[in-house]
């Protein structure tokens, strides 16, 4: 009888082990731009941030198996959809992080919802992800077009920059940025003197910059992104626009862009980030660990920091008992838990999937003010968490009960 019991126990153990192992497995997919214009914003750094999140959580020591795979979506929605479906159908990912492209994020978010997985978007800017296209399986972590427009527009207007002129990328994203910023500027007592459109991937901004200069506006808002931002900032420096007293505000730019531009061209530029590595000891500690292992010892961008932070929280929710297989369940648990990590400090996630944390209005330093590597910006203003993002009352998200 004893033998039978022992055999039974052994058998039960054998049967239980694979089940247990299966339950304690987390597969992370980093879907990002590895080769295109945003590769420095996310790219390999996002994969590194994901690996750091797994290591820092110490989850492996507690018996979990965690794998990290990554892929380049080449900024193509169909490639991204392919990779996502394949990861899910062939059991390579339970959670997708980064995305870095609004079109990609919107498409992936739909597949994630269909398959009940999790999307932790860090890089894509579209506020639709937590607006009319929100999903119970998606969290938008780092920033969105609203927080960018709001941060830069509000703080600058309040600081006396009450007349604006926009140089806008002539497509939906640029126009949305201009529209949102205009609303913020006028709400804070400023006025918009005019705007001019530039085509996507424009090489020559001289006509637009001269118009902006002639408008005598105190602030020139750049409602563009990527190469367009870099080109317009470089050429503004050649025209001596910031030296002559006008302020240049980039509505969507990352610290990696400032690094690429160099302080000489970018000095005086104002922009908004939700994570800047040199804010406090905690953010510096994370940035140091990151840059020790990153290419060219680069500090993390806010997108990469968002990947780290969102995954830390995801792992916390899973360890707290949310079943990995039920994506919506994990997201619900993530929303109910307060967030806390080195990169973003304490925060929370709203019911529409919007992560809430403070934003910083930064100004790029002059070359002589920069004391150490990556000492690129000083904090002009801090926008408190509850004011940094679109208020829930304005949300078009169907998940929000009104």
């Amino acid at each position: 009888m004893k033998h039978i019991l022992q055999a039974g126990a052994a058998l039960a153990l054998i049967l239980a082990v694979p089940a247990l192992a299966q339950e304690k497995t987390i597969r992370i997919g980093v879907l990002t731009d590895m080769s295109g214009p945003y590769a420095d914003v996310g790219g390999a750094g996002s994969t590194l941030a994901a690996e750091l999140a797994v290591e820092d959580s110490g989850i492996k020591a507690r018996g979990w198996t965690v794998s990290v795979v990554s892929a380049d979506h080449q900024n193509k929605v169909d490639v991204a959809s392919n990779v996502t479906r394949e990861w899910f159908d062939q059991g390579k990912a339970d959670v997708i992080v980064d995305t870095l492209n609004s079109g990609v994020a919107l498409a992936v978010s739909q597949i994630v919802k269909e398959k009940n997985k999790v999307l932790l978007n860090s890089g894509a800017a579209s506020s639709d992800l937590t607006g009319k296209s929100c999903s119970p399986n998606t969290i938008a972590w780092t920033y969105d077009t609203f927080s960018q427009a709001n941060g830069t527009g509000r703080a600058l207007t309040k600081a006396g920059g009450d007349s604006w002129y926009f140089i806008t990328a002539d497509y939906a994203f640029g126009k949305a940025l201009e529209r949102d910023t205009t609303a913020v500027v006028t709400a804070n007592g400023g006025k918009v003197l005019g705007d001019t459109m530039a085509p996507l991937n424009n090489a020559d901004f001289s006509s637009q910059l001269l118009q902006a200069q002639a408008s005598k506006a105190k602030v020139i808002g750049l409602a563009n992104a990527g190469a367009d931002s870099v080109n317009s900032i470089k050429q503004a420096a050649e025209f001596g626009i910031t030296q002559s007293g006008q302020k240049l505000a980039a509505l969507l730019i990352f610290i990696s862009d400032v690094h690429a531009l160099g302080l000489k061209a970018a000095q005086g530029l104002e922009f908004t980030e939700t994570y800047y590595w040199d804010v406090n000891d905690q953010t510096r500690a994370f940035a140091d660990r990151f840059s020790k292992r990153s290419k060219n010892a680069a500090k993390p961008t806010m997108v990469q920091a968002g990947v780290y932070s969102s995954l830390r929280h995801y792992l916390k929710a899973v360890e707290a008992g949310a079943p990995v297989a039920d994506g919506a369940g994990v997201v619900a648990r993530m929303k109910s838990l307060p967030t806390d990590d080195q990169a973003f400090g304490k925060g929370s996630i709203r019911e529409d999937g919007r992560k809430i944390h403070p934003a910083y209005l930064l100004q790029v330093k002059k070359p002589e003010e920069s004391k150490y590597p990556w000492d690129y910006a000083r904090i002009v203003a801090t926008i408190p968490a509850e004011e940094a993002f679109r208020p829930l009352s304005q949300s078009e998200c169907p998940l929000v009960k009104k």
Binding site: G43, Q74, N82, D170, A172, L200
Partner: protein, 320 residues
């Protein structure tokens, strides 16, 4: 001149090799989803059909269009909008979008075939860029976000396309219809005149053919088939985006056709599968994908100019 020395396509006798090649390809494709992920295959088939449509124009008509993404991309927008915005069933959305692409082809073709050679190519490129920027601006395409979440719906109200396997076989049927269509066109009297124009246009004119009409017809047919491919892709990928209308898509289809074999029936299909496979399986390698693509292109131009299938066909003196 001996018969074998002439380009295989010029032979007037209808060779059964091509039909055999199409049949072998069809058999392979029917079995393929057992080994390969069907969703990926369905997308590859759309690209393959696109390449076949392009090949009809360049391989048999000798007209190198740099702007075929115009028809592919816009058909995909039309189909996506009809299926999502109007709630049309997939077969109707695809058919209507295909016709729209044909109409676009009529306009673009009528303008561009008035010039020859590089000027023709440049006009098609200019028109495609025009179409791209319209797609970027008009509200219903949602600019750079594209149209997302296109419902696959039920084919004829009966067949649920939500299942990847079902979807694949429906796409395969559409693809084979397109491929066989190209075959029929190429081997019709119209196709013979087209090839004559490609070889020597002044001579075709002197024989009394109104060559511009033939060229326009070929252009419209090619645009329509490219539209069929784009519309199907919108239903498969459940999205329509700027990628499909961008000039790089026009470039990609040239690459596919050249790698596979210009002026062969099955070559572009192989080329499309090679390129799609590279983009998918090498996606983890990041920027190396474009480098490898470039290397293959260089290799193709230097070592086997007729493309993979074209070289095989030439070696065995058959047409494939």
């Amino acid at each position: 001149m001996r018969d074998a020395a002439a380009p295989a396509i010029l032979r007037t006798k209808r060779p059964p090799d091509e039909i055999l090649a199409i049949a072998a390809l069809a058999a392979l494709l029917v079995a393929a989803p057992l080994a390969i992920y069907p969703f990926l295959l369905a997308q590859a088939l759309c690209m393959a059909l696109f390449a076949c449509a392009f090949n009809l124009l360049v391989g048999y008509g000798g007209l190198l269009s740099f702007g075929h993404a115009l028809f592919f991309g816009w058909a995909s927008y039309f189909a996506a909008h009809m299926a999502k915005g109007f709630g049309w069933p997939p077969e109707l959305a695809i058919a209507a979008a295909t016709l729209c692409a044909g109409a676009l082809g009529l306009v673009a073709g009528a303008l561009s075939i008035r010039r020859q050679g590089i000027y023709f190519s440049m006009i098609t490129l200019a028109l495609a860029q025009l179409g791209y920027f319209v797609a970027l601006q008009v509200p219903f395409t949602h600019g750079e976000d594209g149209i997302q979440g296109v419902p696959r719906g039920k084919l004829f109200g009966l067949i649920n396309l939500g299942d990847d396997f079902t979807l694949y076989y429906v796409v395969l049927a559409i693809f084979l219809f397109g491929l066989f269509g190209v075959y029929r066109i190429v081997h019709s009297p119209f196709g013979a005149v087209l090839k004559a124009i490609r070889e020597n246009e002044p001579r075709a004119i002197s024989l009394g053919y109104r060559t511009e009409r033939y060229k326009l017809a070929a252009f419209v047919l090619s645009a329509t088939l490219a539209g069929l491919a784009g519309a199907t892709k919108a239903i498969v990928a459940q999205s329509a985006t700027l990628t499909d209308a961008h000039w790089t898509m026009s470039g990609e289809v040239i690459l596919m056709t050249l790698v596979g074999g210009m002026g062969t029936i099955t070559g572009p299909v192989l080329g499309a599968f090679v390129i799609v496979a590279m983009q998918t399986y090498f996606s983890a390698m990041g920027q190396w994908v474009t480098v490898i693509q470039g290397a293959i292109f260089v290799l193709c131009v230097l070592a086997f100019r007729r493309g993979v299938v074209g070289e095989i066909a030439a070696r065995f003196k058959i047409s494939l």
